[in-house]
């Protein structure tokens, strides 16, 4: 789960990191008032959960409250990568002498948290990693002992020569690591970490992604979730215990298991069409899950055929078949459905489907080809109209 910059700044502050004062505002008037309250020049930043805000014109500097109000009226309501800006952060602008990068991720290869710093701050760190990896200093952290004092210092020395700054940076890195652990983050980033002309060390941006698996022990953080970050169908799917990602094609997919769901999408592509979505109904799927899955897939107007690919293990094929029957009773289904079922209770499932006149196959290749064929036929009369 991603959290907004203004939320991440608050979490960083509560762990002792120096972050310039700020306010959140939803109207140009609120922005003007916030700027007046903060005093001096401010930066107005769109609060959206996508990268590239600056490039899209969602971050602007303003010298006076009036200018802040004007710039905010440009930013509020702006569309950044399909997301409408509804809130902005108004933060005191700082006089920047140098910009660095500091971040922590959980590194899959070493199975440890890794802290990275680079003097090349303020730019895309992935770009730095690709073009000039030698500019990044990485330290693996043993999660049982945390970021050790000497490690924090070494990271400080990688960025600064001035001993006072090195000590402050080391202190800040320990705070950043503490925040990372406390909220069960999967990523914590300060980009840029700046030194002001007055010699202060400040985090002027904050990025935090949380581990979804750990949210059960952070009910307070779960409340920070912003539904505008998700397609409404994706929100509904998550609430119903399904994993759904909307895509651009026209074959709706309902599959049990993430790997098989991806392989099904790939096979659709292999046979020359495009999947409309990724959808994993998970294990031990009861009929209700199938009904919810059908509703979500059908909410996408691009869908011209629905493909079920079920390999029964924990999932019982007869449960899925019953779900399909119930869904057909409850929902208005105006596209063809093709079904592949194999594994646990397959025979029973085939009997159930046959009773409502739905044929099923046990071959994945066959069902994909058939879905594509039917989708083309469903789409054709519409195109002719």
């Amino acid at each position: 789960m991603k959290v907004h910059e203004y939320q991440a700044r608050e979490i960083f502050r509560s762990h002792g990191l120096a972050v310039p004062p700020d306010r959140v505002a939803a109207t140009p008037e609120e922005v003007g008032a916030a700027a007046a309250e903060l005093g001096g020049p401010v930066v107005v930043k769109a609060q959206v959960l996508v990268g590239g805000r600056g490039k899209a014109g969602g971050v602007k500097l303003a010298a006076t409250p009036e200018e802040a109000r004007r710039k905010a009226s440009d930013i509020l309501g702006m569309d950044i990568k399909g997301i409408t800006v509804e809130r902005v952060l108004v933060a005191s602008a700082v006089d920047i002498a140098s910009e660095a990068y500091a971040g922590i991720v959980i590194d899959r290869a070493s199975r440890r948290p890794v802290m990275m710093v680079s003097a090349a701050g303020g730019v895309d760190i992935e770009e730095v990693a690709r073009a000039t990896p030698e500019k990044i200093r990485r330290i693996e952290i043993d999660p049982r002992y945390g970021l050790l004092g000497h490690q924090a210092s070494a990271l400080g020395f990688a960025l600064y020569e001035d001993l006072t700054l090195v000590r402050r940076a080391a202190q800040l890195f320990r705070g950043l690591y503490a925040a990372f652990v406390d909220v069960d983050a999967s990523l914590a980033e300060i980009n840029p970490l700046v030194v002001t002309r007055a010699g202060e060390l400040l985090a002027i941006d904050a990025k935090l992604n949380l581990d979804d698996n750990a949210l059960f022990r952070h009910p307070d953080l779960e409340k920070l979730r912003d539904p505008s970050d998700e397609d409404p169908a994706e929100t509904e799917a998550r609430e119903k215990g399904l994993s759904y990602v909307k895509l651009d094609g026209n074959i709706g997919c309902i599959v049990n298991g993430a790997g098989l769901a991806m392989a099904t999408m790939d096979l659709i592509k292999y046979y020359g069409a495009e999947p409309a979505n990724f959808l994993d109904i998970g294990g031990s799927s009861n009929p209700e899950k199938v009904v919810n899955a059908m509703r979500i897939v059908l909410s996408d107007p691009n869908v011209k055929a629905i493909l079920f690919n079920i390999f029964g293990g924990i999932t019982r094929c007869d449960d899925v078949a019953n779900g399909i029957v119930v869904a057909l009773e409850q929902l208005e289904v105006d596209v063809p459905i093709v079904i592949r079922l194999t594994g646990t209770n397959e025979d029973e499932a085939l009997r159930i489907l046959e009773s409502v006149g739905l044929p099923a196959t046990n071959s994945m290749d066959e069902v994909v080809q058939r879905a594509i064929d039917l989708a083309v036929r469903t789409a054709a009369p519409e195109a002719a109209r």
């Binding site: 290869a109 992935e126 059960f216 994993s243 990602v245 993430a258 790939d266 592509k269 292999y270 390999f311």
Partner: protein, 290 residues
């Protein structure tokens, strides 16, 4: 022979009375796995299905029954402690089926287990099966048949799909291992490849990967530098968009890293035959077996 488990494996089921634990304990017993104990704190002294003694702790289960492996079906909030408990009790193989375990907790428990000379498989994995000998986890036994092919995969049902094709074509398996779909897992592709390389029964290996991370790329380099047995593979997620989690917590393309194409290329560069469809693995395996 087989890898990690065989007919002598003595299994304790942690969470044997839960919905998933009881269902799969029965499935494993039917398959012939030696389920020697169950552990449910508070239910020690009871018996599961009139056949398996239940203990309060794993240590008691090990002392009384000589269990060597454990399988964990407890909910995510308690799963990590169950792993620590199994390691402290001297269990050698700890198979963690539970999905949704906090990632940071795994970074702490894995070294703890390794320092005790034990192995974690998973979390968020289907477990493993040595056809005809033993199964630990949730893989459906009826789709497997004994034979010379080792299977290792990050997925569950996609693995079943592949095994189904192999068995349907008369190609049996030595052991099938599901390593799990989370970003931090206890047993890697490379651990499994090393085990298959050392296993006399295994003549070829099928490796099934997916988007996210660089485990497959590292495994490919390992195949090139250290394996004498042929390896063929499949990568799921060629149509997955970047930045989106595709079900598995670990299945996410971050920036430009972890794409299916990058992994397929790494496989090819290391001489690993890559199937375009799961069904095509059968032909590749036949070729590999010679």
């Amino acid at each position: 022979m087989s890898v990690f488990i065989d007919e002598s494996t003595r299994l304790v089921v942690q969470g044997i009375t839960g919905r998933d634990g009881s269902f799969h304990a029965r499935q494993m017993m039917e398959y012939g796995t030696r389920v020697v104990a169950g552990v449910v704190p508070g239910k020690g002294g009871q018996t599961f299905d009139d056949a398996v003694p239940i203990f309060h702790t794993v240590a008691d289960a090990v002392a009384e029954t000589g269990a060597t492996a454990s399988v964990i079906y407890v909910p995510p909030a308690f799963a990590v402690d169950a792993v620590y408990e199994a390691a402290d009790a001297g269990i050698e193989l700890i198979v963690t089926i539970t999905e949704g375990v906090p990632v940071f907790d795994m970074t702490r428990v894995i070294p703890y287990v390794q320092e005790r000379g034990a192995r974690v498989l998973g979390p968020n994995c289907p477990g493993l099966i040595s056809p005809g000998k033993s199964k630990v986890g949730i893989l459906p036994g009826q789709i497997c048949t004994p034979g010379p092919v080792g299977v290792v995969s990050r997925s569950g049902t996609l693995t079943y799909e592949v095994i189904h094709h192999l068995t349907g074509d008369g190609i049996g398996q030595s052991t099938c291992v599901g390593i799990g779909g989370d970003p931090i897992i206890g047993t890697s592709f490379i651990d499994c490849l090393e085990a298959f390389e050392a296993d006399q029964e295994t003549k070829a290996v099928v490796m099934i990967g997916e988007i996210g991370g660089t485990d497959e790329q590292e495994a490919a380099r390992h195949v090139k530098s250290s394996m004498t047995k042929p390896v063929v593979g499949f990568i799921a997620g060629q149509t997955a968009p970047p930045g989106r989690r595709m079900g598995h917590a670990g299945a996410i393309i971050s920036g430009s890293e972890g794409t299916a194409m990058e992994k397929i290329e790494a496989f090819r560069e290391s001489g690993i035959g890559v199937a375009r469809r799961p069904a095509d693995l059968v032909g590749l395996v036949r070729e590999a077996l010679g």
